[in-house]
Amino acid sequence: MGDLIREALSIGWPLFALLAGLFVYSLISISDPVAKKRATFKLFIGMMAAFMLLLAIAHYKGSFYEANRMLPVSLVLVTALCFMMGIYFPNHAAMLKIGGFMFLVAAGLSGYGNWLPQVEGGFPPKEEKLDFSSMTAQQLADEGEKIIFGGIGKNKEQGAVGKGQCPLCHAFHAGMLGERAPNLMGLPERAGKDRLADPKYSKGNPQARDYEQKESFPGSGTAETAQEYIAESHSCPSCYVVVGYGVKGTNDKTSPMPPIHKPPISLSLPELAAVDTWLWVREGRDAPSYEEIIKSYEKFIPEADRPKQQEDKPAGAASALLADGTETVDQIFTKAQCIMCHTIPGIPGALGKQGPVLEEGTNAPNRIKDPAYKGTAHSTPEYIMESVVSPSTYVVKGFPDNLMPKVFGQKLSAGALKKIVDYLSQVKAGSPPPKIS
C-alpha cells in the first residue's frame, strides 16, 4: 500500500500542487466566511477524490500486464469518486455520474475477464533439429506423441494439443466420440482392411473417385498398403472422405482437414514418420520402418512440396536470441548467464558475486529515490527493465560500470524480459522468494 501511495503521489503531484494553489487562492480571495467554508470543504473533497483517482491509476498502471483480480478495484474507486464529485459539483453531475457508471461497467467486465481461468497462448512451437532417422521405433513414437499431444504420456489428457493439432478434431481412444473427424483408434488395421476395400476409395483407379481431388498430384495414384493410406490421408485429405465427415454442403466430397505438410501445420516428412509410428506402436503393432514411412509420403508429396525441418524459421532468428520467453524464468536466467554474476534468491545456482544481489522488490524503490539516479524509471518494473537493457544508466555503488553486457535488449525477447521483470519485482529482502513460473 505504501508503494502504491508513493506511486500515486509521484504521478499526481502537479494535480495536488494545483489544488493546493486553489486552496490558498480561496483563502485569500473569499471574504465571506460561509463561502470560504464551502470552498474549503469542496477543495478538501476534491483533494480526496484526486487522491483516490491517482491511487486507482497507480494500481492500474502497476498491474496492467498481470492477471490481477484486484484490478477492477481501481475502476470501482474511480466510479465511487465520480459519484462523489457529482454530489459536490451539481453542474456536471450528469457527466460525472455517467462517467462513473461506465467505469463501473468496465470494472465489472475487466473483473470478469480476470476472474476467469487465465489461458495464455504460448509462442509458436519451437522447432528442434532432431535426427529422426537414427531413432528406434519407440523413440520415434515418443516424438510422434509429442507432435500430436505436446508431450509424452499426454495422449489421454483432454485438451492436450501439440504442433500437429490433431486432437482438435480427432479422438484417439475407444469410446470417445470424434464429432468433427473420425476416431483414430484402430486406424492401422482399419486402413488396410476397410478403407482400401471401400469401393468409394477406388483403389488402383483414382479417376473413378468422386471427391474434390482424384489424386494427391497427377500420377501419384492410390494407396496400396495401410501405411500408404495413412500417408495419403495426411497429404491429400480430400482424395477420400469418410462418410459423415466432409465439409458441410459438399456431400462428403471435400474434407475439412488441411494437408498436414502445408501451412498452418507444416509437418516435415520425418515428423510425419514420427506421428505415424506412434499410431502403430500405441496399439502394440509393429510399425513400418522409418524409411518405409518416408517412402509412403514421397509417393503422395512431390519434391517441391516437401517442407524442410525449420523451414519457417528465418535464418538467424533463433540464434540471435538467448531466450525467447517460452522458458521458465530460472532457465532464462541461466541461458542469459545472469547467475554467473548475480545472486538471485530462489534461482538454483544463482550465487554470483560480481554484481549486486537482485532483491529488486526492495532495492528498486530505494535506487529510484537515490539523488545519483538519473534514469527515467518511476516504478520497480521500469527500473528493472532499464537495468537489464541499459545497465550503465545507474551503477550500484561498489560495483564497476561496463561489466554487465548491454546487449540483453536485443538478446532477450520481450516475453523473456517480462518474465525477468515479473520475477525480480517480487524478490524482497527478508521475504521468501517467489514461485518460479
Binding site: L71, K97, G113, G121, K248, P256, Q410
Partner: protein, 637 residues
C-alpha cells in the same frame, strides 16, 4: 428561370456531383482491375516462356506471379523496430480507436438517412420537423467525429509504418491495385458528407427534400464501399486468397478482396456498426436527459433515446445470426481456426461474449419495461414482466454454459471427468442456440407489448388476433426449446442443422408478429398519451449500459478475430516473428479492452460537448409540442 427552378437545378447538380464522386474511384481504377494489369513490363515482354505461374491458395486457380513472396521477417530493428513498449499493444490501441470512430461515422449517416426518411414520410408536420432536426444534429456531431476518424486513421498508418514496416509493406504491395481507390473513396466520402450537410437548409421541402434524401443514400453507398474495402484487408489477413503459397500476388485483385470471410465480415460489420451507432446516440440522449433542467428538454431527449435504442436494437437482433454465419464460414474455411475460437485457446473469450450478448438483451428489455411506465394504460402488462425476467434468465444461463473448454490435468481431475459433474455436457450448440433464440423472441415480445402499451385494438378480429398471437409465440417457444433438447439425442453433425429451424422460428416471430400487431393497432383506442420525459432515471442507465457493453463487446470481438491468427500476420502465408507472437491472457485482454472503451467514451463525450456548442442555437419551436403528442417513430412509437 425562377428561384424554385434554380434551386431544383442546383440540387440535381449537387446530387449528380455526389454520384460522380461515387463513380470516380471506380472509373479511375478500371484499367488496373484487369487481370494481370499489374504484371511488371519486364515480365510481359519476356513472353510466356519465362512467365512463372502460381496456384491461388484459396481459389486454386493458376495465375501469373506478379508480386514478391511474403517476407520472412526476423526479430530485429529492420522488421520490428520498437519503442520501449509492446508494439502490438500500441497498434491495438491505435487500431481500436480508429475502428470505434470509423464505425460511428459510418453508422451515423445510415442513422440520419433512416430518421430523415421517417421525417419525410410522416404526415404530422411537427413530428416531421423534429425528425429532421434530430437527423441534422447528428450529422453535425458526425462531422466532428469524422475529423477525429481521419486523424486516428493517420495515426494508425504511422503506427503500422513505424512498428511493423515489413508487414505493412507486404500488405500494401498486395493491395496496391486498389490503394488509390481507397484514397479516392475517402475524398468522395468527405465531399458527399459536406454537400449533404451544407445542402440541408437549402433543400427542405418537396422534391428538393427527396433529392437531399437521395444524397444520404449516395453518401451511405460510398461509406459502405469504403468499409468493404477496409474489410478486405482483415479478410485477407485471416483467410488469404489471390496469392500463392509463398504469398506472391497472382494479378487478380478481386480474388484478394473476395476472400472466404469477406462477405460474412461485411454483413456482420454493417449490422454491428448500426447497433453500435444506436448505442452511442442513445447514450448521448441519456446524458442529455440526465443533464436536462426542464421537462421540455427531458421529453425531447427521452424520445431521442428511445428512437436511437429502437434503431440500434433493430440491428442488434439479426447480429447473432450474422455472427453465426461468420463462424460457420470460419469453420468451413479452416476447421482448426473455428475450434481455436469456440473450443480452444479463445473459448473463454466466447464465454465473455455470450455474457455480453445476454447483458445487451437484458438491458434492452429492462429499458422497454421501464418505458412502459410512462404510458397510461400499460399497467396491465407490468405484472407479467416477472415471467419475462424468468424466461430471459433461463435463456441467458443456458447460453453462457460452456460445453468444451480447455482444461489443465488438475482441473480435469478436480471435475472428475471431461464434463462438469452437475452441468454434464449441457451447453451443446443446439442448447445455446435455444438459449439465444428464447432471449431474442422474448425481446420481440417485449417490443410488441411496448407498442400496444397504451392502446386497445378496435378491429373486429382483435380477439382472434390476440389468440393467434399468443398461440404463435407459445408454439415458437415450444419449437425452439424442443429442438434445443432434441439436439442432445442426435449426432453433432446433424445437430448443427437444427439452428436453421430455430432461427427461422425466431425470425417468423419478428416478421409476422410485428406487422400483425401493427395491423391490430391501426386506429386503436388510446388509453392515454405517452408521457415523454416521465421515464425513470434508471432507464437511462440501462441505455448507458447498452452503449458501454456494446463498445466493450466490439473491442472483445475485434480482439478475438485478430488473435485467432495466432502467430501469423497473414494466416499461413506470413509468419509473425516478433517477440509478441503469443496470445495474451484473458485478463490482460479484458484490461486492454476496458482501457480502449474508456478512452473512446472520454473522447466521444468531448465530441458531444463540441457538438452541443452549436446545437444550443436549435430553434425552440422544434421542441414545443413534444410532451403532449403521441409521436410514431420506429415500430409504431
Amino acid at each position: 428561370m425562377g428561384r424554385v427552378a434554380g434551386k431544383k437545378l442546383f440540387s440535381i447538380m449537387a446530387l449528380c456531383a455526389m454520384i460522380g464522386l461515387l463513380l470516380l474511384p471506380i472509373v479511375v481504377s478500371l484499367p488496373s482491375l484487369a487481370i494481370g494489369a499489374d504484371a511488371p513490363d519486364a515480365v510481359k515482354k519476356e513472353g510466356a516462356a519465362t512467365v512463372e505461374k502460381g496456384r491461388d491458395v484459396y481459389y486454386k486457380t493458376e495465375g501469373i506471379v506478379v508480386g514478391a513472396p511474403a517476407p520472412k521477417t526476423v526479430d530485429g530493428p529492420r522488421d520490428y523496430p520498437r519503442y520501449n513498449f509492446e508494439s502490438r499493444v500500441l497498434l491495438w490501441f491505435a487500431n481500436q480507436q480508429h475502428l470505434y470512430y470509423g464505425s460511428f461515422v459510418l453508422a451515423v449517416p445510415i442513422f440520419c438517412m433512416v430518421i430523415e426518411f421517417m421525417g419525410v414520410v410522416t404526415k404530422d408536420k411537427a413530428m416531421s420537423k423534429r425528425y429532421d432536426q434530430l437527423a441534422h444534429d447528428f450529422i453535425k456531431i458526425s462531422l466532428t467525429a469524422y475529423s477525429l476518424t481521419a486523424i486516428l486513421g493517420g495515426i494508425l498508418i504511422f503506427t503500422f509504418l513505424t512498428l511493423y514496416p515489413a508487414f505493412f509493406g507486404y500488405l500494401s504491395s498486395i493491395f496496391r491495385p486498389v490503394m488509390h481507390i481507397y484514397a479516392l473513396m475517402f475524398v468522395a466520402e468527405s465531399g458527399t458528407l459536406y454537400i449533404y450537410y451544407y445542402g440541408w437548409d437549402k433543400m427542405t421541402d418537396g422534391f428538393l427534400k427527396w433529392i437531399h434524401l437521395s444524397m444520404s443514400v449516395v453518401l451511405n453507398v460510398i461509406g459502405t464501399l469504403l468499409m468493404f474495402l477496409a474489410n478486405s484487408w482483415i479478410g485477407f489477413m485471416m483467410s488469404p486468397a489471390g496469392v500463392d503459397e509463398q504469398g506472391r500476388y497472382l494479378g487478380n485483385i478481386w480474388h484478394v478482396i473476395h476472400t472466404a470471410l469477406w462477405n460474412p465480415l461485411n454483413v456482420h460489420r454493417i449490422l454491428g456498426n448500426m447497433a453500435f451507432g444506436g448505442g452511442v446516440v442513445a447514450a448521448y440522449a441519456a446524458y442529455k436527459f440526465l443533464a436536462s433542467k426542464t421537462d421540455e428538454d427531458r421529453a425531447h431527449y427521452d424520445w431521442m433515446g428511445y428512437i436511437a435504442m429502437a434503431l440500434g436494437v433493430a440491428f442488434l437482433i439479426p447480429l447473432p445470426f450474422a455472427g453465426y454465419w461468420l463462424m460457420r464460414e470460419v469453420y468451413a474455411y479452416r476447421q482448426q481456426m473455428g475450434i481455436t475460437l469456440m473450443g480452444g485457446l479463445l473459448a473463454w473469450l466466447f464465454i465473455i461474449q455470450a455474457t455480453m450478448i445476454g447483458i445487451l438483451f437484458l438491458s434492452t428489455n429492462y429499458y422497454l419495461w421501464q418505458a412502459l411506465g410512462r404510458m397510461r394504460g400499460a399497467e396491465k402488462y407490468q405484472r407479467y414482466i416477472k415471467y419475462l425476467v424468468f424466461v430471459l434468465c433461463c435463456g441467458f444461463l443456458v447460453f453462457i454454459t460452456p460445453h468444451t473448454i480447455v482444461m489443465t490435468p488438475a482441473e480435469l481431475k478436480a471435475m472428475g471427468g471431461q464434463q462438469h459433474p452437475v452441468l454434464g455436457n449441457y451447453g451443446v450448440m443446439s442448447a445455446k442456440n435455444g438459449g439465444i433464440n428464447v432471449i431474442i423472441t422474448t425481446t420481440i415480445l417485449s417490443f410488441v407489448w411496448y407498442m400496444r402499451g397504451n392502446k386497445v385494438s378496435t378491429v373486429s378480429w382483435s380477439k382472434f388476433g390476440n389468440i393467434f398471437m399468443g398461440v404463435f409465440f407459445g408454439c415458437a417457444y415450444v419449437n425452439i426449446i424442443w429442438l434445443a433438447i432434441y439436439g442432445y439425442y442426435i449426432p453433432a453433425n446433424v445437430r448443427v442443422g437444427l439452428s436453421v429451424p430455430q432461427v427461422a422460428t425466431t425470425l417468423s416471430c419478428l416478421f409476422f408478429m410485428f406487422p400483425l400487431n401493427a395491423a391490430m393497432m391501426k386506429g386503436a383506442k388510446q388509453m392515454g398519451a405517452i408521457e415523454w420525459g416521465k421515464i425513470s432515471v434508471r432507464s437511462q442507465y440501462a441505455l448507458i449500459m447498452l452503449a458501454t457493453a456494446f463498445t466493450w463487446m466490439m473491442g472483445l470481438m475485434g480482439y478475438i478475430r485478430s488473435s485467432v491468427r495466432l502467430f501469423w500476420h497473414v494466416n499461413e502465408i506470413m509468419r509473425d516473428n516478433s517477440p509478441w507472437a503469443y496470445t495474451h491472457t484473458v485478463g490482460f485482454a479484458a484490461n486492454m479492452i476496458s482501457f480502449n472503451v474508456l478512452f473512446f467514451w472520454v473522447s466521444i463525450l468531448f465530441v458531444f460537448w463540441l457538438g452541443s456548442l452549436g446545437m444550443k442555437k436549435a430553434p425552440v419551436e422544434i421542441k414545443a409540442g413534444v410532451p403532449g403528442g403521441a409521436p410514431q417513430p420506429a415500430g409504431g412509437h
